[in-house]
Symmetry: C2
Subunit: 212 residues, 2 copies
Amino acid sequence: MNTFTNKIPDATIRRLSLYLRYLEDFGRSGIANVASGVLAERGGTTAAQVRKDLSYLGSFGKRGLGYSVAELTGVLRTVLGLDCTWRVALLGAGRIGTALFEYQPFRKRGFNITTVIDNDPCKVGSRLGDVTIRGEDDLECALRDDGTDLVIVAVPALVAQQLVDRVVAAGIKAVLNYAPVPLRLPGDVALRNVSMLVELESLSHALARGRR
Amino acid sequence: MNTFTNKIPDATIRRLSLYLRYLEDFGRSGIANVASGVLAERGGTTAAQVRKDLSYLGSFGKRGLGYSVAELTGVLRTVLGLDCTWRVALLGAGRIGTALFEYQPFRKRGFNITTVIDNDPCKVGSRLGDVTIRGEDDLECALRDDGTDLVIVAVPALVAQQLVDRVVAAGIKAVLNYAPVPLRLPGDVALRNVSMLVELESLSHALARGRR
């Protein structure tokens, strides 16, 4: 097993997330073994790609039997860091932030939003679910007191970078950015920018192309 | 110009969306020309990648002067299908759907959510912004009456596929999926699956790796 040492490409990690979903489906359906071709079909990729992706995790699968659903599920959960829970701070309790807070799959996967920060005085002190919203002045204290592992940014574009600079200075090493602006962070901080427009624009490109 | 004929890779289209954002920033700041290196730095990529991406659009840029911000902005808007407006139907007026409905950048980019469908009898007939929510029985009528171009799916995983099958049968050619399940569609329908968990899981992978 080289699960714990090798660097796995980002694109592979994304596919591993998808494979895990299918495997969990299979497990719930009582399926014990699955062939790479079946995983490939569900994921819109090829059996060769599935085998290559899983090869990063070590030796798996038996010729003719495929992969053990239970074993592979366990390994993927470990690789994806889902065999523990993570303390998450949400910056921004606006519409996007609130929807993320209430998005059940996060919690089911072990991502617990235990800190919420907002700069609106009307919101500070009120509750979102079981969390009391704290003001921006409390950011560093809140991250430290809470033992935050990961920060989700859902604030307006204009304030995102300055807020994240404070998050990074406070020692946070993973940031998920929903603000409609790309963030620049030091190389040792894991960052994912989620642009809701980028996906829509690749669809409008496809539509516009079809019309020409 | 081969803008209108060549197939541009998906990864390039995503980067073009980002370049467009930076170019609009530059335009607002009164910057007339921009070098590929500057676009690359903003986008976290290389100047060679920027030049390659833009080469899909035809011949641009002058040696030593870089790209004209105004010209490139216009071309990118055309390529991304942003020089017109699109009629969007939102399936699901839950928390994610409502947040998407109220997400201002969609509208600014010409994506107008003009139809909202939900299966909750308490919601049907009520309004979301200036749109009256219609029931699932009305789906096909609503798409046809509205002249819908593009559908955003924000319904629970269990009902997503069956609803999208109806959307496809109604002739829709572009689907943005926020339901936490990958959808299977015919090859002539453009589809983007947005998984809010995939990005989080690639961060937890990075964190878990850092702890080992």
